[in-house]
Amino acid sequence: MEISRHWRLKKQRYSLIGEVCPHCDAKIFPPRDVCPECGQEARSEFAFSGRGQVYSHTTIYDAPAGYENNLPYTVALIKLDEGPIVTAQLTDLGAQPVEIGMPVEMVTRRIREDGDERGMLVYGYKFRPAWNAPIK
């Protein structure tokens, strides 16, 4: 029963809501108590565009409990257009091989398989190839 926890995270998980530092304008995701750039408190909400590029990626063949039915699945570090890097699964890959620098965009998908049973929110952000985006 981890409903309260996932309720706390729902803006981040569903809508990629992070923060913008009111002191130095740094864009922050995930939210933090203190701005990593200037050390002051950062609590203003900021909605990220959900667009970015693959910074690195790995395909996992040996999964932790709760993720076994997804095997193999791909987790990536995504550098968002606004600056921060985020850890997320890739989805809708089709036959296209994943490459560093590949443009991606956020979608909302099921993340864990055993969610219902433990009362958890199991949906959240993943990223898929953004075919129309210009490669920078």
């Binding site: 926890r5 995930p30 690195s56 063949y61 040996d62 997804n70 990536a76 560093i100």
Partner: protein
């Protein structure tokens, strides 16, 4: 006797370890007791006043916390100071850091740092899920990331940025297995080669089975005391702790300005060496953390033995071997010995002390005077460094 030796030196007076492996028949307590007993015996019978226990996963895997009390009680020492220290895979090394501080404070005479991990109370996916508690739970583990997958993300980026041929990383596990062959406590004493490495099954691309040190059961213990509080005659040379430090980095990979540089590792080595009054280059060997091949290379870079992007080259030409310029993982490292979680850092220290004493058997280095021991947790979110010097 070394000129710099002082009575107030803090030394390692006893060491103990169990073989690393799948100890189905032994409980966490039984394992810890074996290491405890060996260390006490090795020290000529010193009993600790304080026990600091490094452990990573017992509350999750074995439903058992309160390990300080559990073990002090099991050893027949109920009453003494005892507490558990948690710093992921570096918990044992962190326990040694705290034991060092406790003795340095003058409040504790004889401290024991003991690391123990019991993985085989659970199996497979539960162990992987448990190990992910050392990541950022909400933003890393929740996405299905694991500590090994973190290392895979780093290796992929490393190969890309520095244009490294993928097979080059095989040199790390090949070296580790080579060295483990001479260590009776090690889990994997079979030799591997470039061909078997190339054929190894993928675990998390690009890391294969040979790039990842397997989680395994084990316990190791170290007795720490001020030199002048020890009996005059111990049956072995003492190892002085000349430098001890613990540093942290941002927890999640995605929060780091340059994920390929292990800042905590750098800081911990820098601080430990400064305290010891040496440069990293002044050590005779380097017990680095090869929990994955990735960290072997990155650790060499963070410590300053190689420039960023060049750490992998050191494994190509023999300079890390037992007869090389900078021997590493001299008794098999994580990959050859096995990765006993929160006990791993103390295995590294025990192995370094064996070398310094001249008790490393087939793998003995010729008269080493000084060791650098680097323990990492995950992607070096915690890094602990110790400089050890033999006192003749």
């Amino acid at each position: 006797m070394n000129d710099a030796v002082k009575n107030t030196d803090i030394v390692i007076a006893g060491i103990g370890q169990t073989p690393v492996g799948e100890h189905w028949q032994l409980s966490l307590k039984n394992l810890a007791y074996l290491a405890y007993k060996a260390a006490v015996q090795d020290s000529g019978g010193l009993k600790p006043d304080a026990l600091y226990v490094g452990n990573m996963l017992a509350p999750v895997l074995s439903h058992q916390a309160h390990l300080g009390v559990l073990l002090a009680d099991d050893f027949g020492l109920a009453g003494i100071e005892a507490a558990a220290v948690e710093a992921g895979n570096a918990g044992g090394a962190a326990a040694l850091r705290l034991a060092y501080l406790a003795v340095a404070s003058g409040c504790v005479n004889i401290a024991m740092a003991l690391g123990v991990e019991k993985f085989t109370d659970q199996v497979g996916p539960n162990v992987e899920a448990a190990a992910s508690v050392i990541l950022d739970s909400d933003y890393e583990a929740a996405m299905g990331l694991t500590p090994n997958a973190q290392a895979a993300l780093l290796l992929r980026r490393y190969l890309y940025e520095y244009q490294v041929p993928r097979p080059a990383f095989g040199a790390f596990p090949i070296l580790a297995h080579n060295n483990a062959a001479g260590n009776p406590q090690a889990m994997y004493r079979n030799l591997i080669n470039a061909e078997s490495y190339a054929q190894a099954g993928m675990v998390c691309d690009p890391l294969n089975l040979f790039d990842i040190a397997p989680w395994a059961d084990g316990a190791a213990a170290v007795i720490v005391a001020r030199r002048d509080s020890l009996p005059a005659a111990l049956p072995h040379p003492l190892a002085r702790i000349s430098g001890a430090s613990l540093a942290t980095d941002r927890l999640a990979l995605h929060d780091r300005p340059n994920p390929l540089f292990l800042r905590a590792a750098q800081k911990s080595v820098e601080r430990a060496c400064r305290q010891a009054g040496i440069l990293p280059q002044d050590v005779d060997f380097f017990e680095l953390c090869d929990s994955t091949s990735t960290y072997a290379a990155l650790s060499l870079e963070a410590a300053g033995f190689a420039a960023p992007g060049q750490g992998w080259r050191m494994a190509q030409d023999g300079q890390l071997a037992l007869d090389g310029k900078l021997p590493v993982c001299t008794l098999g490292g994580f990959k050859g010995r096995g990765n006993p979680g929160g006990a791993a850092g103390l295995y590294q220290v025990v192995e370094a002390v064996l070398q310094l004493r001249g008790e490393a058997g087939k793998n003995q280095l010729p008269h080493p005077q000084r060791a650098l021991v680097q323990s990492l947790s995950g992607a070096a979110a915690t890094a602990v460094a110790h400089v050890l010097e033999v006192i003749h």
